[in-house]
Symmetry: C2
Amino acid sequence: MKNLPPRSDGAPDELRAAIRMVPDYPKPGIDFYDITTLLKDPRLLRAALDQLSWLLAHLTVDKIAGIEARGFLFAPTVAYHLGAGFVPIRKAGKLPAESLRESYDLEYGFAEVEMHSDAVHFEGERFLIVDDVLATGGTAQAAGRLVESLGGRVVGFGFLLEIEALKGRERLDEVHSLLKV
Amino acid sequence: MKNLPPRSDGAPDELRAAIRMVPDYPKPGIDFYDITTLLKDPRLLRAALDQLSWLLAHLTVDKIAGIEARGFLFAPTVAYHLGAGFVPIRKAGKLPAESLRESYDLEYGFAEVEMHSDAVHFEGERFLIVDDVLATGGTAQAAGRLVESLGGRVVGFGFLLEIEALKGRERLDEVHSLLKV
């Protein structure tokens, strides 16, 4: 059962302006979008959580999968508002029970994400994948493969912020992002 | 401004029963309490988030500090309900801006946590520290030292689950835990 908050008109410009850009992090030439400056303001935190939930409220979903670590900040609240369960997608070696693993390419080398094998309850269970920022889309794409390998169906992806220049959207279906830079 | 959900009578026995115990994880002899089996059930997820928020609702707080990674699952929703801001406490090297670092002892060696130096806005700002499980209390204690080193005041600690045998409560002031084993 959905449990949506009152609809607020929102102020995407104000939310976007509260995100701090940290140059040369984690390495020279990379501009890092730091959302902690938004989250520490009570009013903006609430606006971000409400508006992200409303952005995704038209989707019919059974579970929200949140990607470690910053996806964990949004996915449970979205699940709470959409009346869905929450499932974590974690870096390799962090989940205690039997898990499935997927790798994805990084600029140099690769990384891995895992999901509990019993996270999908039935064939076709509808999953929405949530993370804080959509950059190249590699992690989200690997998360989608995990859900599908376990028999789930990915009905969409939700992000607080999309970095349009990195074209992550082209690798994913049904992308919803609250803010864009 | 607080924004509390309707009060539910709750079912702590049912919530506790939904937590899976994984023996010998992460190493032989350790019983790991896996909360993912609770979180994936929409009704229990909502009950856990509502009841944890109500448990902490009598506290007057400015900010909720959530401890990476599983504290991130609860702290933003608690902040949302209590009308507070959210601040992350992360493992060393994960925060992009200037940070303060604290170390704490593990069974073998030590670990470190960090907090952004600008996370505390004024002397005496009231912080509540939130994590999923209270075990020995070492991480939570280090998190409290970070807040205080930056001029904040720790008004309490909130946990979904407290493992009483490990006596973490003795190292901390104002501990509130929704479930106990």
